[in-house]
């Protein structure tokens, strides 16, 4: 076996796996420290308000995975149209895993550079959770996303174990490296067995299915050239390895396998390896000898490692539906502690294909459903989520929606991540939109910039009621801040007649008090907006009157005020003010109001007076108007009368029509 080649393969594999050994001092005693600090070291804690997702480092995970989630949704639209989407879905799954991995690596970097013990511990805790998430995600990917033809899962499972327990391979790499150096330096043999970890490492990589590395390590043994070692190498070299795309059928392979194992067993019985006990042990392992079970167990950290190791030497073509049996078996064989950790439970559930319980368990994890929502979504996209209720109806869709709703709502409650939450709620029809309609207006409108963002989101989703609500809230907020102009600007956007009526009244009140308008820059430029409500139309027109009056366009001002008074627009309490404002126009040197106009004004005055009198009658004891009003009415009437006489004379002398002739006659 070529040592260099094996080494190269290993280094390639190890690259990208960060050296967690650097933080050994923390990793060795986390539980103890967590306990003293009162932090639950269990990876499943009750979801608290302060989700770990809101940690700055994990926010990257939230945001980046949201992008992946959305590209998944885009993909789902094309799923119905046929074609093979398996590679795309696998890519999606890998992208999620790489996001987790990057985030986890960032956390380890923080742990290394951080000075504070508490910050370090938190980061360590988060990294620990992410490690477990990735372990499970990877297993899901193997079992449900990246399904191989023939359902021969063991090669992938071994890959999974190798990826998450890289210590064996890492140690093998160092041994191979020093060995190769010694050979290069001219030593006759590498003598690697002097390394106290040598045999442990050999067995470790063997149990992870790295036959090539095992052989490379054996070559570095001082006795590598002796007969037992030569025999062992032959055995290992001839070991049949199942390759899905190799063209061998499972039956043929199994026959080859049995023959090869029988061959190895007979060699052991012949005592070929007796001279070296360690070597004999290795041969017993590959022969599937049950007597070495205990040894195998001692070399495994966890039960699923034991499961894959024993399967590799007893049933290499195991199908995924048999896994739950083997898992159970391995768990019992691994034994030692009876209490099953959450992680073990999840793996067991996955191997049993009990996805509903997996998702239920995941929702309890410390990441506030991040994992549950993305995994559920992926499985849903893959069409692997088939969960039946008591009536045998597939409720996968409901489950998917429920998980999305939960996660989206949780994010919406966050001060800054609410925008991400919206993306998830977008993809759970029909309840998502309903929920958005409730949640969007509930976001505090701290600034106009924020209001614009929320409005835009509502607008894009055609949630017009939300847009209106936000405008109204902004209007009343402006009003509270004593900014009538801004309040009106927002009220106009809401196109709410009551609100604009109210604001227009406030403007008019202000005018009645001070004799001038606030926010003329806005009122003079209302344009078609003034049609939102009657009162606003009046306000707009009334401002126009003032503009005309100021610019000395008296004729136009007069006709505007006449049309205003003859319409139903002016509020009752404003009619007198309007009529009073006619006085200067009536008293102009030049005649401005025609006889007809004056008639209209006069009748307005009469109606107003009667109304005022009846009003006074009904609610007060005194039977007459107050002096000021009385005087005003008197004054207006006087002006009107004078104007009428002037008008009749001028109109009569200028225009020879029947009306004027009648005046002349009289």
């Amino acid at each position: 076996m070529d040592v260099a080649l094996a080494l190269k393969g290993l280094q390639f594999k190890i690259k990208g796996v960060p050296q967690s050994t650097l933080n050994k001092d923390i990793t060795d005693r986390p539980d103890e420290l967590f306990q003293t600090l009162g932090i639950a070291a269990k990876w499943s804690v009750n979801a608290t308000k302060d989700s770990i997702l809101f940690d700055p480092c994990l926010r990257k995970l939230v945001n980046e995975s949201c992008g992946t989630f959305l590209s998944g949704q885009k993909l789902s639209q094309s799923l119905g149209s046929g074609g093979d989407h398996a590679p795309d879905l696998l890519k999606l799954s890998r992208r999620y895993r790489s996001i987790i991995r990057v985030c986890r690596n960032n956390l380890y970097e923080i742990i290394e550079s951080s000075q504070q013990d508490l910050g370090k511990l938190n980061s360590y805790y988060f990294a620990n959770v992410l490690d477990k998430i990735e372990l499970i995600w990877h297993l899901c990917e193997i079992l449900y996303v990246d399904v191989v033809p023939g359902d021969i899962v063991l090669p992938q499972l071994l890959e999974w174990i190798r990826f998450h327990f890289p210590e064996g391979e890492r140690k093998a790499a160092t041994i191979l490296e020093t060995g190769a150096d010694r050979v290069e330096a001219g030593f006759e043999t590498a003598g690697s067995e002097k390394d106290p970890e040598y045999w442990k490492t050999v067995i470790g990589v063997l149990l992870q299915g790295r036959i090539d590395v095992t052989r490379a390590l054996l070559v570095l043994h001082s006795d590598a050239k002796t007969t037992p070692f030569q025999h062992a190498d032959v055995c290992l070299r001839t070991m049949p390895l199942y390759n899905i795309y190799g063209g061998t059928s499972v039956t043929v392979f199994n026959a080859q396998w049995t023959r090869w194992q029988a061959d190895v067993r007979s060699k052991i019985e012949e005592g070929v390896f007796e001279s070296n006990l360690d070597l004999e042990l290795i041969m017993k392992i590959i022969a599937g000898d049950v007597t070495v079970m205990d040894t195998i167990r001692n070399h495994c950290n966890v039960w699923y490692q034991l499961m894959t190791a024993t399967l590799f030497f007893s049933e290499p073509t195991v199908k995924s539906f048999d896994l739950s049996y083997h898992a159970d078996h391995a768990m019992r064989a691994f034994g030692s502690n009876n209490d099953i950790q959450d992680l073990d439970k999840l793996i067991l559930l996955l191997l049993e294909s009990n996805l509903l319980e997996v998702i239920q368990e995941l929702q309890k994890t410390a990441d506030n459903g991040w994992f549950a929502v993305h995994l559920t979504n992926l499985l849903y996209l893959c069409g692997r989520l088939n969960i039946f209720d008591s009536n045998k109806v597939n409720v996968a869709h409901q489950l998917h929606e429920h998980v999305l709703l939960d996660y989206g709502t949780m994010l919406m409650s966050h001060h800054s991540l609410w925008q991400v939450g919206v993306s998830y709620l977008d993809h759970c029809p029909p309840h998502g939109l309903e929920r958005l309609e409730i949640l969007l207006p509930a976001i505090p409108l701290t600034s106009e910039a924020r209001a614009f963002k929320i409005m835009q989101m509502a607008h894009e989703r055609r949630l017009d009621s939300v847009v209106t609500t936000i405008c109204k809230v902004m209007a009343s907020k402006s009003l509270r801040q004593d900014r009538l102009g801004n309040a009106l600007a927002w009220a106009l956007r809401s196109t709410d007649a009551n609100l604009t009526n109210h604001l227009a009244d406030r403007f008019l009140e202000g005018f009645a008090d001070k004799g001038e308008f606030e926010a003329t820059d806005l009122l003079d430029n209302l344009g078609s907006c003034m049609l939102v409500s009657d009162r606003l139309t009046f306000l707009g027109k009334y401002c126009e009157f003032h503009q005309l009056y100021k610019s000395n366009n008296l004729k136009a001002a007069a006709s505007l005020i006449v049309s205003l008074l003859s319409s139903h627009l002016p509020p009752k309490n404003f009619q007198l003010i309007l009529l009073t404002q006619c006085i200067p126009l009536l008293e102009c040197r030049e005649l401005i109001f025609s006889a007809n106009d004056t008639d209209i004004l006069l009748s307005c005055l009469e109606t107003l007076e009667t109304e005022l009198l009846t009003q006074v009658d009904s609610c007060s004891v005194s039977k007459s108007l107050d002096a000021a009003t009385k005087e005003k009415i008197q004054l207006i009437r006087f002006s009107l009368a004078r104007n009428l006489s002037r008008a009749i004379i001028i109109e009569g002398s200028d225009i020879p029509n029947t009306n004027s002739r009648m005046v002349n006659v009289s």
Binding site: P56, C57, R59, K60, N63, E64, C66, G67, L70, H415, S416, Q419, V420, S423, T446, S447, E448, A449, R450, F452, K453, Q456, E460, R480, Q481, D482, R483, L484, G485, N486, A489, W490, L492, R493, E518, A519, T520, D521, L522, N525, L526, G527, S528, C529
Partner: protein
């Protein structure tokens, strides 16, 4: 995504992003300002991997400074000094000290002007932006006031209390002492800061029919200063010629609020615009400008250079020749800011990421 785009997640939503100017040389530092954080927002200085280093490396954080309130505008006034305005009604001048050595670089506050835009009730309103002209600064606020500052003076020079009855959303110096503001309803006002009375000397509406849509940002053509581009809430970009006050036709551009527009400082024929609908666009008018640029070697072609040299004022005629390309694929969250330096663009987004895009000019020629 394509090779030229490098995204980095920075764990906070970014409202502004600016390259640190290097007197016309290529810049390797940029500053981001964040918004919508629960307690404190931040301005952060980042360094980009320069030449010789693997281009694929993420930008690294050099140093940061907490800011109260959302960052609403950020602009450099010198190579190592920038101004930042906040939603908590203040403007602060910050100096980057010791940029040579990353470990000892700090963002040092120099001057801070607080409580610039209070409402009548005493409550503080957001400072929504500012414009600069040499050492002069004009800030605008949600309370509708304009405050004129000078970098060398601690007290405001002038305050136009009720410049606008609505919130002011954008501002620009047209020339020294003359500014243009845009408000919540798209009403634009021109102010001469030397004139004592608090009245604008010109007012016009962004859209002709007075439908109230907010003006969101203004950009002035770097060389032809009478050309103004105003971005609107509906995603439209309106081009104004200040020499004529006639009504301009808005260009239907983005599908959401135009968050920022910026002309390339050295190559004014390139414009960059971003929107809250997740678009970042590069408008290349060089093909239009070049075809009509009077050339000494070629005979007079009959074009009237004054009429045609500026494609922005003649968009109807050159519409089919305006080259608009996306800087990056449309994002699922809003893009709030863009800045260009030489051949690199940086954009800041609501998905808590900054994207650095290289080769923005060359590859598209």
């Amino acid at each position: 995504m394509d090779d030229r785009i490098q995204g980095t997640f920075i764990s906070e939503k970014i409202s502004k992003v600016r390259w640190k100017p290097e007197s016309g040389f290529e810049s390797y530092h940029f500053v981001t300002g964040s918004w919508d954080n629960e307690d404190l927002n931040r301005v952060t200085l980042w360094s980009c991997p320069g030449e010789g280093i693997d281009e694929k490396d993420d930008p690294c954080m050099v140093c940061e400074k907490p800011i109260t309130g959302d960052v609403t505008e950020l602009k450099f006034v010198q190579n190592d000094q920038f101004l930042v305005s906040t939603s908590s009604s203040s403007v602060e001048l910050i100096k980057i000290v010791g940029v040579g050595d990353a470990a000892s670089t700090v963002l040092k506050p120099i001057v801070s002007w607080d409580k610039l835009h209070p409402f009548k009730t005493g409550e503080l309103g957001a400072c929504t932006g500012f414009a600069t002209f040499l050492t002069d600064v004009a800030t605008i606020g949600e309370n509708g006031s304009i405050v004129s500052l000078n970098l060398e003076k601690r007290q405001p020079i002038r305050i136009i209390e009720s410049a606008d009855s609505c919130s002011l959303r954008c501002v620009l110096y047209l020339r020294h002492s003359e500014i243009l503001t845009g408000n919540l309803r798209g009403q634009m006002k021109k102010w001469d800061l030397r004139v004592a009375d608090d009245k604008p000397h010109m007012t016009f509406m962004l859209s002709g029919d007075q439908v109230s849509l907010s003006a969101t940002c203004i950009a002035q053509h770097p060389t032809q200063q009478h050309t103004l581009l105003v971005g609107g809430e509906d995603g439209s970009i309106t081009v104004w010629d200040l020499r004529q006050t006639s009504y301009a036709v808005p260009l239907a551009a983005h599908s959401g609020l135009v968050s920022e527009m910026i002309f390339h400082a050295d190559r004014p024929e390139h414009l960059f615009s971003t929107s809250s609908s997740g678009e970042a666009w590069h408008w290349d008018t060089s093909s239009v400008s070049r075809s009509v640029r009077p050339n000494q070697n070629t005979p007079w072609t009959g074009f009237d250079p004054l009429q045609n040299e500026n494609p922005w004022l003649n968009t109807d005629a050159v519409k089919h020749r305006l080259n608009v390309v996306s800087l990056m694929p449309t994002l699922h969250k809003g893009i709030n800011s863009v800045d260009v330096n030489k051949d690199k663009a940086v954009v800041g987004c609501d998905n808590e990421a900054v994207y650095i895009i290289t080769d923005v000019l060359n590859s598209r020629m």
